[in-house]
Symmetry: C2
Subunit: 119 residues, 2 copies
């Protein structure tokens, strides 16, 4: 379900956060579905439970999951999260687009690239 890339320079907890955000936004994890427990996921990934705890705390801070003491962590069903992520992506895309246009690419070429994109 989650794979850690040790070649990735980003910290482990950040990779875990990203992976779960993607799974939730894509609907692979449904609203109110239970997340793997801190201890079991740590065991599965062969890392420390504290690292998962840190990732879950961050996911909760960002509104992707909610915690219930003694029961577990669960996926939040907040629909606004998708919209927020869309905005983030668009911002980044436009920033990169601005740069690539500044160094000589045309809007036509860029748009052509996107049109040809397979999803």
């Amino acid at each position: 379900m989650i794979i850690i890339d040790y070649k990735d320079t980003r910290p482990i907890y950040e990779q875990v956060v990203e992976k779960f955000k993607t799974l939730i936004l894509h609907g692979a994890l449904q609203a109110d579905e239970q997340m793997p427990s801190v201890r079991s996921l740590a065991m599965e990934l062969s890392i420390n439970p504290n690292t998962i705890q840190k990732a879950y705390a961050e996911l909760e801070r960002q509104g992707f999951i909610y915690a219930v003491k003694g029961r577990g962590n669960f996926v939040s069903g907040d629909g606004r999260l998708v919209e927020e992520r869309k905005c983030e992506c668009i911002q980044k895309i436009l920033e990169l687009a601005r740069e690539v246009l500044e160094i000589g690419m045309t809007k036509m070429e860029l748009i052509r690239e996107i049109e040809q994109l397979q999803v």
Copy 2:
């Protein structure tokens, strides 16, 4: 010429690398133009010369500048760098585009955003 953003979480040397890459790619720094010396730039930015040295070493590794012992660092005139940067940007853009399309945006909407972009 170069400004360090201490709110930026990225390391200083990385910011310096990025800034110079942009200046070179945009032609603000011409081929064979002399870079500020390690010591003078460090003085100007109130940081350690070793940090600038690290940034310059990275810029040289990536082919943006070349060093001449005793004389200084100079901008490389390699035209392929612009093409390489374009490819990098496109890759990132397509990656983000793929994500934003997967979570519900349409190609039309995305292309519209780029069309409206002011450069």
